[in-house]
């Protein structure tokens, strides 16, 4: 059994186990959830450390055939693109479970949903099978809606639930249409088990050698871009996000904004770019300008927010713009930068929502006009929130800076104007709204009514925040931990996008591919034959 199966299996198993625990055993319910995510996190750290850099192909692979006639199998494995994401997801999941103190009603159901969400999203990132890739994401997505609807807060809770449900369901549906259309591009006789089926590595291999027809690319790529884009709150399909996160209980917001949202981006990089290079080249020009909608427009919207959670939500949408810009640059530096921000933003979003959740729990409001001067009363949460805000405006030392600056280096040659404007968003607009928020929440005189507000005093309260902060700092100070793993696989993706564009004649391209990359070819051959056995 691959370590990946354990990483995603523990939370799901714990979710099933919790079904049989009586609902008034609150401590046990909580302990099971925290323990399961903790084990999952430890295993993810172990996997991250054991990951061999520069190893061609996937590691920790495992494949179990399921529906043979359709070619669906349970197939997990990691390469440089998702190894960091799984680590990030597991750490955020543990932090979210720790932060679930604030849930005071129907704990049992909440923890079950949280665990399902965790297992689902970790599975989606680990999955190398298109069917499970999508299915596990849906498994994680649906609990979000229920959690916001039942445990959400604020007056606009119901509206937010409707909006996020409709938006994300439609986004997922559009992506599904794209994925099915993609599957149908494989010749019918190869769609069974052992051949290509839903297997992502084999699909990639197949379309590398037999590039998809231009018409099909131009039909499928926009569907994936739109579908995944909606899931990632690409401008102008972003309005669900701030409101949804503002109304969600903080563990849900942490997991969704931090981890689940990265699914669409991961899908774009893993599937859409390498399989449809020609369409990608075309659409990236448009995506580059759309990402300014995220960075500038949503940044400005964030400036107007008076509620801390809506502000963090909007800033989280704005950060997605940098990732889109990195992807749109379609070169090694840009794509690597995009993956770094995906990981960094996961930690950051979780940290910000976790801290704002703490403040909400203590004060019952996140209206910035009512808060103020909290730094004096919160010697731990205050500085942590300040650090999160500074990380959010791209301060060096935090992982976000590494990602953003890398994206700028990558995108500068391709889109100088867009990069210049994005730089304005990164350095000026984010600083404007983040520091204003800190000025209103932490600084200034302390209103009388908050003079009794307690700080996070016990270890369990501090642990999730400390863990997330430490992760941001470690990857911010030692970015090679990530880049050495990401770069080789990002290079493969970029090569496929840039090299296969010209060769639309299938035979021509495939022969060229064989000549230019003999090692890759043999490597993938090996992978095809040994797909069912797990490398140890």
């Amino acid at each position: 059994m691959s370590i990946l199966t354990y990483i995603l299996g523990w939370p799901l198993l714990a979710a099933v186990a919790l079904v049989f625990v009586p609902r008034n055993y609150r401590v046990i319910i909580r302990a099971v959830a925290v323990l399961a995510t903790f084990i999952s996190m430890l295993l993810a750290v172990k996997m991250f450390c054991q990951f061999v850099t520069g190893h061609a192909g996937y590691q920790f692979e495992q494949q179990i055939p399921w529906v043979e006639s359709l070619g669906i199998s349970y197939h997990v494995g990691v390469d440089g693109l998702n190894v960091g994401l799984i680590l990030m997801g597991a750490i955020v999941a543990f932090a979210a479970a720790c932060c679930s103190f604030e849930i005071q009603s129907r704990e049992k159901e909440f923890y079950i949903l949280l665990l399902v969400m965790t297992g689902g999203i970790l599975g989606a990132f680990a999955s190398l099978d298109l069917f499970f890739f999508y299915f596990l994401h849906e498994l994680a997505l649906v609990p979000t809606f229920i959690m916001i609807g039942v445990w959400g807060r604020g007056e606009r809770k119901n509206y937010a639930t409707f909006q996020i449900t409709l938006y994300l369901s439609i986004g997922a549906l559009i992506a599904l249409i794209g994925l099915i259309a993609l599957y149908l591009q494989v010749p019918a006789d190869l769609r069974t088990a052992g051949k290509i089926g839903f297997d992502i590595p084999k699909l990639t291999e197949f379309f590398r050698n037999n590039p998809m027809a231009g018409g099909a690319q131009n039909f499928i790529f926009p569907l994936l871009l739109l579908g995944f884009g909606i899931l990632v709150s690409l401008w102008p399909f972003h309005t669900w996000a701030p409101l949804g996160y503002g109304s969600a209980p903080s563990p849900t917001a942490m997991l969704h904004a931090g981890v689940l949202k990265k699914f669409g981006l991961y899908g774009l990089i893993r599937i859409a770019l390498p399989l449809m290079p020609q369409a990608a080249q075309h659409w990236m020009q448009i995506l580059a300008w759309l990402c300014l909608g995220n960075i500038l427009y949503v940044g400005w919207v964030a400036m107007r927010q008076r509620n801390l959670n809506l502000l963090i939500g909007n800033s989280s949408v704005a950060h997605m713009g940098f990732i889109f810009l990195g992807i749109a640059s379609l070169n090694l530096i840009g794509v690597t930068g995009a993956v770094i921000i995906m990981i960094a933003h996961g930690f950051l979003a979780a940290l910000s929502f976790g801290l704002s959740g703490y403040i909400y729990q203590q004060t019952g409001t996140l209206e910035m006009g009512e808060l103020g001067g909290l730094a004096r009363k919160l010697p731990f949460v205050g500085p942590a929130l300040l650090m999160a805000a500074l990380a959010g405006c791209g301060l060096p030392g935090f992982a976000n800076f590494v990602g953003e600056v890398t994206v700028f280096f990558g995108a500068w040659k391709v889109f100088p104007v867009v990069t210049g404007l994005a730089l304005w968003g990164a350095l000026m607009i984010s600083a404007l709204y983040m520091l204003r928020a800190m000025r209103n929440v932490l600084h200034g005189p302390l209103p009388e009514k908050w003079s009794g507000i307690p700080d996070a005093s016990n270890v369990w309260r501090k642990l999730p925040y400390a863990l997330l902060l430490a992760s941001l700092l470690v990857f911010g100070c030692f970015p090679r931990l990530l880049t050495e793993k990401i770069t080789p696989d990002a290079e493969k993706i970029v090569k496929m996008v840039t090299e296969n564009v010209g060769g639309l004649v299938a035979g021509d391209a495939s022969s060229r591919g064989r000549e230019s990359a003999p090692s890759k070819q043999s490597d993938s051959q090996r992978r095809l034959t040994s797909a069912a056995t797990e490398p140890k």
């Binding site: 309005t239 400005w300 530096i333 001067g373 890398t406 700028f408 280096f409 350095l427 000026m428």
Partner: protein
């Protein structure tokens, strides 16, 4: 001995202090302070040891590890060790150490004592990082970290709204400069393919046209960074507000070190700047010097006067860089660090003695009450004004001489006029705050500060006195001469040669002073150091004598107006102009009305669009449309059999009409 580990140790000791204090010793005040002071003082000692062992040009001159490497983007984390960086390390750890010790006394009653020292150590680490950086990204990283430690320290008393706002403003303004800076880095990297200073320098020396047509733009974009950090016009507005921070912070960050980072950076990358860029830089520096000296004349807050004076002196330094004179710029940076830190600490001593009173018109008569503060402050003021043999005279003279030798007479005139203004506002401050009768009860009950605050004053006063003629400028000059960067004007080059070889019989100055001064000078030069003390008069007599004249005019004006004055006589004489000066020429108001308002306006529009067009219009219409069609379709499902029968018949009729009718 090579001692390669020392620079790393010097850099990371303050970081260690900055992490240990908030994590473990927040409650033990003295331990925290000792950790922080220990880190910086050890740093100073180790720097001295390193220089004593390796000299000013150590080999290897760079220690490097790879920090990030993606494709052709290679970012190192390295230390550049040369005369420039070693000199700055001495300033940062030396002056910084004195200020750390002073803070132990100044902040002792504050409840954020430990937090203060943690922030100070974070700042020291970041500043040393800037000094030692060997590539642009590393420089930028520490550049931002310095910005954030400044943010934390300005906003140290964050409960005071003015302090919190000032911190925010400083960060924004710096970020505005950093925007240009990063853009400039991107341009340089794209054109030259490297970020390392040595590699860039070699590329540009081998092929001066490597940057092509964008040379000026690249240089000016990078200058934007310096404009933010060194508070040059038009980004100068944050520095006076930064005085909301505790006074040691003003001394360390906003006078001696951080604001000098911009000048240091320009001196470091001077090979990137082409003549057009240099010309713009020189004029921006000159204009800043003039503008802020004018504003300083009508300020009443002791720290704000010093802040505007800092701006004005930074303008001098930037102007010197623009006149392709990195040596005078670095020289003035060094002496300025001594005497401005001294002035701020002296001001802090006064402020504490008067229970946080900062208005100079509520002081007066401090000479007897606080003798050490009085005399050290006077030394600082004389150094700032440029009275020989105080250090400021030599460095300011070097800048004036640079303008004179490069034949930039308009800027020379500006610089000389600023020298008049400098003496005027400093002696206005001095006469009002220190001389005459006490103007308030607090002033008459003032008493001298404790030893932990006094000793740093004495120490800095010594350096403010002798800093000009102990050979600092020669070390820097030699650095630029060795690296082949600066084509000296023959005059100053020969002067340097002359005095380094220490040969008073060299032909140059004998010819210059053709015999008249000969015998007198020969006698004078028998006294040790005398040739160093008199060097400016020999090097560029015009600049020196005009500079001295400017000081004299400024002093006479200040003395006639402010000696024994109870209130400021200047507004009556100057009218509206004085009001404009007092209100800082309304720059803050202008920025508030343009930059911030523009962003707020756009934000409002975008928010409106988001709320009403995208959210309400877009989504609302989709939802409303769905809702409407649902309602419309509901009308068909009434459950009424007759309706169904009618619709069925209608449908049949329509189908029949389609099939048969056509």
């Amino acid at each position: 001995m090579n001692l390669e580990a020392l620079p790393w140790l010097i850099l990371f000791l303050p970081l260690l202090a900055a992490t240990v204090i908030p994590l473990f010793t927040l409650r033990c005040r003295t331990t925290s302070a000792l950790l922080s002071i220990g880190a910086i003082v050890t740093g100073f000692v180790l720097t001295v040891v390193f220089i004593a062992n390796n000299g000013w040009t150590p080999t290897p001159s760079e220690l490097t590890t790879n920090w990030l490497s993606i494709g052709n983007l290679n970012i190192d984390f390295g230390l550049k060790l040369d005369a420039l960086s070693l000199m700055m390390m001495l300033i940062v750890t030396g002056v910084g150490g004195a200020i750390h010790i002073y803070s132990f006394g100044y902040m002792r009653e504050d409840r954020g004592f430990s937090r203060f020292f943690a922030c100070l150590s974070l700042f020291t680490f970041s500043m040393l990082g800037i000094v030692l950086a060997n590539n642009f990204i590393q420089l930028f990283i520490f550049w931002e970290l310095v910005g954030v430690s400044s943010y934390l320290l300005i906003g140290f008393w964050f409960e005071k709204p003015s302090a919190a706002d000032a911190a925010k403003k400083a960060f924004f303004t710096n970020r505005l400069g950093d925007f240009g800076f990063l853009l400039g880095i991107l341009v340089v990297w794209t054109a030259l393919g490297s970020l390392n200073f040595s590699t860039l320098q070699q590329t540009l020396i081998a092929n001066p046209a490597a940057l092509g047509t964008i040379a000026s733009i690249a240089g000016l974009l990078i200058f934007c960074g310096a404009m933010g950090k060194s508070a040059q016009f038009p980004l100068h507005v944050w520095l006076p507000d930064a005085m909301e921070g505790p006074t040691p912070v003003s001394a360390l960050i906003h006078a001696a070190t951080m604001v000098a980072a911009g000048v240091y950076m320009l001196c470091r990358i001077i090979f990137l700047l082409d003549p057009t860029a240099l010309h713009v830089i020189a004029w921006i520096g000159g204009f800043t010097a003039l503008l802020s000296a004018l504003i300083a004349i009508q300020q009443n807050d002791i720290k704000r006067i010093l802040a505007y004076s800092t701006l004005s002196q930074l303008g001098y330094m930037v102007m010197a860089v623009g006149l392709s004179g990195p040596t005078p710029a670095m020289f003035h940076l060094t002496t300025h660090a001594f005497f401005k830190a001294l002035l701020f600490l002296g001001a802090g001593s006064v402020i504490i003695a008067l229970h946080h009173e900062q208005d100079i018109w509520k002081m007066g008569g401090l000479r007897k009450k606080m003798p050490v503060t009085f005399w050290t402050f006077l030394i600082g003021a004389l150094a700032l004004c440029g009275v020989p043999p105080f250090s400021g005279f030599y460095s300011k003279d070097a800048i004036l001489a640079q303008a004179w030798h490069t034949h930039n007479y308009p800027l020379f005139a500006v610089a000389a006029f600023v020298a008049v203004l400098t003496t005027f506002y400093m002696f206005r401050l001095f006469f009002v705050a220190f001389v005459g009768e006490p103007k308030t009860k607090e002033a008459s009950h003032a008493h001298e500060s404790p030893g932990v605050m006094i000793w740093p004053l004495r120490l800095l006063a010594v350096f403010a006195l002798v800093g000009g003629f102990i050979g600092i400028s020669n070390i820097i000059l030699k650095h630029y001469f060795d690296s082949g960067l600066i084509k000296f004007t023959p005059l100053s080059y020969r002067t340097w040669e002359t005095y380094v070889s220490d040969d008073p019989s060299s032909p140059y100055w004998l010819n210059y002073f053709n015999g008249l001064l000969d015998s007198g000078l020969r006698f004078l030069f028998k006294i040790p150091m005398m040739h160093k003390i008199l060097e400016p008069f020999l090097d560029s007599p015009a600049a020196s004598f005009i500079g001295l004249g400017a000081v004299a005019i400024g002093f006479i004006l200040a003395r006639s107006l402010y000696r024994n004055a109870a209130s400021d006589p200047l507004p009556a004489k100057l009218g509206g102009f004085a009001t404009a000066m007092k209100n800082r020429f309304y720059f803050d108001e202008i920025y508030e009305a343009t930059f911030i308002r523009a962003h707020d306006f756009i934000a409002t529009v975008m928010d409106w669009i988001d709320r009403w067009l995208v959210d309400w219009g877009g989504i609302g219409l989709v939802r409303g449309g769905t809702d409407f069609s649902g309602r419309a379709l509901r009308l068909m499902q009434t459950g009424n059999l007759q309706t169904y029968a009618f619709l069925f018949a209608l449908g049949v009729a329509v189908v029949l009409w389609f099939v048969l009718g056509k």
